[in-house]
Subunit: 343 residues, 2 copies
Amino acid sequence: MNFNAITISDIAKALNLSASTVSKALSDSYEISAKTKKLVVDYARENNYRPNPIAQSLKKGKSKSIGIVVPTIDNQFFSQVINGIESVAYEEGYNVIITQTHESYDVELLNINALTHRSIDGMLLSLSTETFNVDHLQKLQNQGLPIVFFDRVSDTINTHKVIADNFKGGYEATMHLIESGFKYIAHITSPAHTSITRERLAGYKKALTDKGFNVDDNYIKYCSHGGKSIAETKEAMDELLALPVRPDAIFAASDRITTTVLSLLHKSKIKIPAEMGLVGFNNTNLAELLNPALTAVHQPAFEIGKKATEMLLSIIKSRYPVTEFETVVMPTELFIRKSSVRD
Amino acid sequence: MNFNAITISDIAKALNLSASTVSKALSDSYEISAKTKKLVVDYARENNYRPNPIAQSLKKGKSKSIGIVVPTIDNQFFSQVINGIESVAYEEGYNVIITQTHESYDVELLNINALTHRSIDGMLLSLSTETFNVDHLQKLQNQGLPIVFFDRVSDTINTHKVIADNFKGGYEATMHLIESGFKYIAHITSPAHTSITRERLAGYKKALTDKGFNVDDNYIKYCSHGGKSIAETKEAMDELLALPVRPDAIFAASDRITTTVLSLLHKSKIKIPAEMGLVGFNNTNLAELLNPALTAVHQPAFEIGKKATEMLLSIIKSRYPVTEFETVVMPTELFIRKSSVRD
DNA sequence: ATTTCCCGCGAAAACGATTTCGTAGATGGG
DNA sequence: CCCATCTACGAAATCGTTTTCGCGGGAAAT
């Protein structure tokens, strides 16, 4: 608990004042004389007084903590997002409670439930791939819990959202593959219902049609858990490789899918980019060092976390109910490296 | 704050009981009759009652949260450790507050201070590379704050500690390089005063002497911030490459140093392992996919986090002061890949 | 029939801070 | 000189829970 524990009433006793006077003096109330204020403030400083945050929370009905719900933190994208979240939250005196869904709807429910019962002032979340239904979140929002989505957002809930420019990312990645001379470009992605999938897929399709290519659904594969298991990615790959006309490039739509695809290609001894071009949505800082160096759409993960937190705090601190919401789209950046460029 | 807010006195009013009776009924006190208990418990369940954790904290003097201090979370080793910490903490109803020092002693002080004032029940930490003095931590421990160290531990503070078998890791890594035919094996590591550096260095030296090699201090380079900046690693590399007899292999002592070294070797067009063998302490799951595949000493990061948390909770939950402390050493594993094996 | 005992429950204090309201004493105006 | 008005502070309630203590009433003991 609070070590260095000196309380308001300790100060009151020491100075022969009442607790209320001390409290008011510390909050610079107009009711207290300058002399008394100085007395109290000086004593408090000398004795390293810090208000007990738990007592304050109880009284004020604010916990000064925000809940985070992400699929997993052991992933460069999300750990960078969390880094951004923390940078803002800590600065503002909030602490964060991080929970992981591991892409499970049930776990997501449990976590959200646990968070609300742990007295949070607001929630930041990125939906799990299994989540279709967001009624529970809608209910929480209706009850007044500030919520901000990032990355995998909900369409139906009206609140602030922060996402990368997934459409543009998908478009540029695909366009780049086409311009590098690849003809049969496959796409491996997360479940069709998630926001990031739809947007990246739309970018992929637009690039193809813009260049006069057909969109062939056989070249689009979905991993129902966003590549959480290697098996689902392997199945997608196997199907692609068994196609009558084998793809000569793959656009992988997420961190984990990308690295798993790379790994599977290694295992199959398929040469990259000679036999198969590869572009991924990926935030690893090791992209340059991979074999081959990986062409990747990079998301401004830190900034996404930062922005989402700023928006959440703005709702939390707002005196009147917030009804005007905004969706911030942050630019992605395509880093072109060897995996997509034939010599 | 707590949404679904129904309180004990709401229940009391609804059932025509007193708050104390309800509280006791819910905690299954012997003072309450079975009939009343059932009445209360049923009503509570039906109305989805959850005790307000903040009120409980205030009353019980326990916050049910633990503080974490790590250099950074944007690092596979630490994010895996945190994953392990969370897996235990969440299970036991604790939430964790994560802070990052970014290898700065001053920030570490600030974070520790903030954490103690935020009412934590215990602290898990891995020291920053800048930290020589741990008086502040000793003071906190003396005041009764349970502390458990992991990874970078303090020698002077007597408490539970969880570390990887750094000596063995260093020994095996070096031994492997020797047995692969490398003759001039350099070591790039963190500052000499940190526990991990000393232990890994000792393993390195022991392997050399066991095989009849001389230990040459010119081949040992320290990065004063553990490789946080590329510059310090580059400086170490440059010095090594300028040596009269250039090393033909490098044993890098940490996650970040390892990947930076790999990157620098790429930039210098030095062939691995032909011109330079490389082994790192590294927890990335991409090791296999790097160019070349990276030989690495892998630490059981998740288990380290798990074990450290279990130990911390055992102190927190102990009724009497704990005076017998233990240092748990977890096995490392050497994964041999291309970067250290000449064809 | 009286005393003793225990069961089952309620009243109240406590955790530490905030906030509303009341009031003693100083000040000012008429 | 008296009443109104401030000024500066204290008492007490409050947030939601836990815990100590006390007590009414019924059962058992004498």
